[in-house]
Symmetry: C2
Subunit: 477 residues, 2 copies
């Protein structure tokens, strides 16, 4: 018999619903041969979304550098003798040039550890991307600093680094929206800090209000909590809502007044549909001196390259560190250095995300059409699910469509049951794996679920009628 051992209590009772009991039951069903539809998580390629051709062509070349030479030789062969390779697709010349350029900037390719914060040429490209996105040339806002950018294994690791710096013990509080993505609650709990909830206004399309923020902060301070930061997820996860510029300004005012760090989770900044536009916290911040950590990822957007685990955090206005001569950025660098560096393919995927084929490039047309098709399909699927909700008794879905999720309120449930029971029953009956609202936090007494609107259209058309049928039977049962 192995001995009994006392483990870290903050790890034992960790909760992480997007990979919790419902997805675990789905995995069990899948092993038993039942078809399940994994909508518990924003994992587009697991539901058949194709990667962008150009991205993969470049990454494939970088992985085997000798191919740059060989693919160029095939182009030369075709140029010499057009019939020689008739019917064979060659890798486009611009993808080959792009890969050669990466290997020129990073001669060790994917094989060596890089700097702890990632290769500088990638951080420079990220900075240029941010500056272009936020129009710094015209707004006069400060340019992004490549040395304040840290490339990480997905945005998750970046968030963990940020929280790791801010949380010393349980008196340190972090404000998070309710509902929230459970990476925040789980990481705060694991690090032994205190989660300070502020509530979004569902009926007002999940808006943030100054009043909710002030109430939350005052409540925490009354309990002796030293609130360090406020987390904002925009576009929202799980809500899909998109913050208006005034709300962003309100958060900045609030953070400035109370000396809080803003942690802006902006990983869904390219998951916009219809006429929606994205405004970054950095853009609204401009020249104001409030500490901002903003997070981005290669896992979302139209690319959905989740397996690459690419991501970054950009720091603006790092705070002075109490009792230390070492700066915030240097401490973050030291923390990152303990694991040497994040994965290099993730770095390069990040580079591609911020440095795409340009107009006039050979690959531009295909890239653009693939991108547009993905975004259009996502919007169509979200709309189809919303239409289904309209046929479900008591189901209401607030907020416009953003990110990859819908988060409807289940207004009617059998007495004594909650959204966990509903989602588990939905899984058992239809194979559809969603996550119950309680996994994200919600106003007491309300019930929700989060669904990622990712399944292929035919699968969706097949499962939606079964969901409607299940729903109306279950809630009235």
């Amino acid at each position: 018999m192995s001995p009994t051992m006392k483990l870290n209590p903050n790890v034992i009772d960790l909760e992480y619903a997007v990979r919790g009991p419902i997805p675990q039951r789905a995995a069990e069903m899948a092993r038993e041969g039942v078809r399940t539809i994994p909508c518990n998580i924003g994992n587009p390629q697991a539901l058949g979304q194709k990667p962008l051709t150009f991205f993969r062509q470049v990454l494939s070349l970088v992985e085997e550098p000798d191919r740059v030479r060989r693919e160029r030789a095939l182009h030369a062969l075709r140029a010499e003798n057009p019939a020689a390779l008739a019917g064979h697709d060659l890798v486009p010349a611009d993808a080959i040039d792009y890969a050669a350029e990466i290997l020129d900037k990073l001669p060790t390719g994917t094989g060596a550890y890089t700097e702890s914060n990632g290769p500088r040429f990638v951080r420079e490209a990220v900075a240029r991307f941010i500056d272009a996105r936020d129009d710094v040339a015209t707004t006069g806002a400060p340019a992004s600093d490549p040395d304040a950018i840290f490339l990480t294994n997905g945005a998750s690791e970046a968030v963990r680094h940020g929280l790791d710096l801010l949380i010393g013990d349980k008196r340190d509080g972090i404000m998070i929206p309710i509902p929230q993505y459970p990476l925040y609650s789980a990481t705060i709990h694991k690090l032994g800090g205190t989660q300070v909830d502020y509530y979004l206004s569902e009926e007002d399309d999940w808006a943030m209000t100054r009043e909710a923020m002030e109430t939350s902060l005052a409540g925490a301070q009354a309990k002796g909590i030293d609130v360090k930061a406020i987390v904002v997820i925009n576009p929202g996860n799980p809500t899909g809502s998109i913050l208006p510029d005034e709300s962003i300004r309100e958060v900045i005012d609030f953070a400035e007044k109370h000396s809080l760090v803003i942690m802006a989770d902006e990983v869904y900044q390219e998951n916009l549909y219809g006429d929606a536009t994205f405004t970054s916290f950095a853009r609204v911040l401009g020249n104001r001196d409030v500490t901002l950590l903003s997070f981005h990822s290669t896992s979302k957007g139209f690319y959905g390259e989740c397996g690459k685990r690419g991501g970054y955090v950009e720091v603006r206005n790092p705070p002075k560190v109490e009792g230390s001569d070492v700066g915030f950025i240097d401490i973050l660098l030291k923390l990152a250095s303990v694991n040497l560096c994040s994965n290099v393919v993730g770095h390069l995927m990040t580079y591609l995300m911020v440095n795409r084929p340009k107009e006039g490039d050979e690959s531009h047309a295909l890239f653009t059409s693939e991108r547009d098709a993905i975004i259009e399909a996502l919007e169509t699927k979200a709309n189809r699910i919303r239409e289904a909700f309209a046929q479900m008794d008591g189901m209401e879905c607030y907020g416009r469509t953003g990110a990859m999720y819908l988060f409807p309120r289940i207004g009617k449930l059998p007495a004594g049951t909650g959204d966990f029971d509903y989602c588990m029953a939905l899984l058992e009956k239809t194979g559809l794996c969603t996550v119950n609202g309680s996994g994200f936090g919600q106003v007491d007494g309300t019930h929700h679920l989060r669904i990622a609107f990712l399944p292929p259209t035919d699968l969706l058309e097949e499962v939606l009628p079964r969901w409607i049928e299940f729903h109306n039977r279950y809630v009235n049962g």
Copy 2:
């Protein structure tokens, strides 16, 4: 002015010498255009080591799945008309088949999140690798369990997960060898636990002794520390020493007697030279019921794929968890799930590491010759550096050659200086970046440095005479 902020004290004073002030100075020199030789870290491809051709061919194909079809078409074209592609190298058919098999087992390729512990087919392959390595078919030891294997972003993350489970607060102690790899000291410190040192016997080729372990444990217990685990690094880092089977048995006896978890860092298990052989902790453990976490990585060995951040931990005999119905493995899985999964290219690199071209395969001969050339070159370079030590006044290097490092004792230094000063001066004078012994821990009053024996031979031949000259001048200066 940004406000002053109190940060996590355990992060502020983190120390991590392999990326500390000396490597930082090297980076500064490199930016100023000075040639530096990064021997501070085991990063073979940064010093010109080539990746194994087969590994990269497969990874390149998996990255762009359509190439499986295209490369087969090129083979067909050549078969039809041998002159059509004269002079062009095609990807070997076995690499194409291998990639196709991976894509068959993991249809989402590198694009989707996988299970939190990594794709099952990779964990199964790791289990088979462990069983073959340890001859379980003949020894009767228990087979490795794929569900007790966790794929991680390098072994670093696996070590962090293990320590995260074991360390609740500063009364929780972890025994680590001195000298040690600073991942351990830094992570224990960051998690707020207590580092409990046990000393290796330098003159006895860095052997572990039962007495040193017992003394260390008793000392910690006398201070009220609850010692949870003992870390063993074999082959040693920074020492390069290789543990005899008796020492491994001694550690197991010790851990059993005191109910400790063994954390066996076995990432250098394929960095063996001459007639050295590797025995795993799992093999010596056999059927004994002691908790073992063993770590492995794609970053070391002859492959040196550091940028991939592939690694794993295998758990044997997980302990019962005090006060919890949830098992150790399930808690580890929950912890891993908060970051969704580690990077998929790292998973696949791990798969390749444990599942290589077999005798009879088309790629076997090239693979074997590349492997042998790398291992031979490493041994030759280690020997050349040892020869140089013999010409350095007071320099003594104990232990046989293992891992990627030599850790000589600097027996003579100018009064009032230490190994940090020596290594910094060596860097300034020769461009050679090493790490001072104090970064790993050492007996008080002794001085060492760690050098990774990785530079290309011509560079080494150029720098060694300059090092000898520097040394004899510096220590007698």
